[in-house]
Symmetry: C2
Subunit: 376 residues, 2 copies
């Protein structure tokens, strides 16, 4: 393998694939970067076995020239070496040693056997199942993935349930104490159902730009592939059946309060300081008492107590006053995800889940459901 490449293109690709490479990987070869030079492209691969990023640098004939095809696995140091190199690099593999020349420097790196690098799912890049606007995809994920379970008691709950019908894309996420749902109209050639690890989706968001389009490939049984231009991102899916959640969402309410989202959120952020005894313990509980004003409060024996009154816009329904207790963190997470001017706080009964959603619906349907906390 022998090629010449510009430093900027090489660094960009290496930084991308590095996002999933862990220096604590149990498979030592996955601590490195797999590099394959063909006549058309130089392909870089990084993986932690669950998530894989494949980045392709096209051979331009000018700045990027492949003189000899081949492949190898670079040790992780290659990334910092290329970062600190001059504008042009020449890469020359001889046996297991790669010579990296740039300016007046010459580095010889011991490489690993490419035969040992795991092979990953192949994708037919010509036929994506769905093409989404990148910013839209980010929005959909950020409104749901936070609600996934952080423990592996029920592994499927660590995922986001992704369900595409002919004309609608649904993302659902629950940890069994709260539920986040978004629905967006799309045109899809086929139905898709899969459970994507929430942490993988969050990583994918960091890798892809906010511009352009993301192509989604899901015809492989156990993997999801996302493609943004020259970069492929692949993650394993979670096995199992996602719980049926649609019947959890109440369809009639005793009271619906419209309230300014920012003021509600700021009030909760203040109450949080009393409700949680410290930052590592986020299970604090707040109470909302609605009766002419929305009064948020919390009492914690160690810390003290706090109260803040927030005016609301309107209250409709049969009940003119209500009280409910809930996790401060869950309410803050939900209000952050909603990202609108005014929210509807829809109440059924003090021991029934309540709903938060935008007062003004856009073309995207969304709702955040939170189970109350039993106090007394």
């Amino acid at each position: 393998m022998k090629f010449n490449i510009t430093q900027s293109a090489f660094v960009e690709g290496l930084m991308k694939v590095n996002k999933v490479i862990s220096s604590r990987s149990s498979l030592p070869i996955l601590q490195g970067v797999y590099v394959k030079a063909t006549e058309d492209e130089i392909v870089l691969t990084g993986s932690d076995a669950n998530e894989t990023i494949i980045h392709s640098i096209p051979v331009t004939g000018e700045d990027v020239v492949v003189e000899e095809t081949g492949d190898t696995v670079f040790p992780k140091q290659v990334i910092d070496i290329v970062k600190k190199s001059r504008k042009h690099l020449s890469i020359d593999l001889d046996g297991t040693v790669t010579k990296i020349k740039s300016g007046k420097s010459e580095i010889e790196l011991n490489c690993l056997d490419p035969e040992e690098y795991p092979s990953f799912v192949k994708v037919d890049e010509k036929e994506p199942d769905l093409v989404l606007d990148a910013a839209q995809f980010k929005t959909l994920v950020s409104k749901t993935s936070f609600a996934a379970a952080k423990t592996d008691v029920r592994p499927v709950l660590q995922g986001v349930y992704y369900n595409v019908t002919e004309d609608c894309m649904n993302l659902t996420c629950t940890d069994s104490h709260r539920l986040a749902v978004v629905k967006q109209k799309v045109e899809s050639k086929q139905a898709i159902q899969m459970i994507i690890p929430a942490s993988s989706l969050d990583n994918a968001l960091k890798i892809f730009g906010m511009n352009g389009e993301i192509e989604i490939f899901s015809h492989s049984d156990n993997a999801l592939v996302l493609k943004d231009g020259p970069t492929l991102y692949q993650t394993r899916l979670l096995d199992g059946n996602y719980p049926e959640t649609s019947r959890l969402i109440p369809d009639s309410f005793t009271s619906v309060m419209k309230i300014n989202r920012k003021e509600f959120l700021e009030g909760l952020e203040l109450i949080k300081e009393v409700a949680n005894s410290n930052t590592s313990n986020e299970n604090g509980v707040a109470k909302i008492h609605v009766n002419g004003v929305a009064s948020l409060s919390s009492t914690k024996a160690e810390t003290g107590k706090g109260k803040i009154d927030i005016p609301y816009d309107s209250l409709e329904g049969e009940q003119e006053a209500f009280t409910i207790s809930f996790s401060v963190k869950y309410a803050i997470d939900s209000l952050k995800a909603l990202d609108c001017e005014t929210v509807d706080f829809s109440f059924v009964a003090d021991m029934r889940p309540f709903l938060l959603k935008p007062s003004d619906m856009t073309d995207m349907e969304e709702c955040q459901l939170i189970l109350p906390v039993r106090t007394v």
Copy 2:
């Protein structure tokens, strides 16, 4: 204790004293903020027992009003609560509970007994031993403190030796493998010698602004006090005798090479990637071979090898070529600290310390001494 205060002044003070407060402090009361309101000022204190910050907010009669003097110890949550409060706050201590009112919020915080808060060295603020330009102080510290020992095998070596004579201030720091020295002319009323923990000096730099002056008080036996306007910073000193270092610095050399500092540094940064097998292990060794060009190289069995040629400006002395091996990290640290265009690399013999210093001396004298590494 009862006072009214603007949120901005309160947050500023709390953030300052918070820099030394540790939530892992073994003395629970030191996890809090000691607050004392007098007729003239509201004084906030934070401490981790070794380092203490005392910040004074003057009573203005308008925005800052003390209605009732007194003192208490707030729990650490007060900082986030004040951050999230409105423009004005009223603070009212009743027994052990403090009521914090702001806008439509009311927080009651359980406070700690102020009698239990340790008392700290008192300083006569009218008589500083020395007044230094803040930026100058930062420069002096940043050119020396990095060379302190990171382990406590010899505790005094974790400090910077601060020695002021009538007309000269000397900062010396060594971990016994390298030595950093700066000398600056000053006018001082009295001689001062003390060993200041390097980590405390680094912290002090983060607390003080780059503008204005820093007053230095050292007449207390076991503490150093620095004052920047309304903020006092105090640290314990290290006990013991600092080693005599002046005779370590050679006064004649066989060769002196003048070389561009930035190119030398960039070369070492590249070589470092080969010399250190990973980022947590920074004991890599590089070799410099000077003979027409300065050739830096390193070989590491696991990684491979690297070499880079750097042109130098001139080489003077009896020897026209020399070779010496040294810690890459130490050389990088020293070159970063020097912060000049061209450095003098002064060589005696391959097993004798070498010296790095600016080719053009300013009114500040400085030098970095590094012991070679025996390679065979």
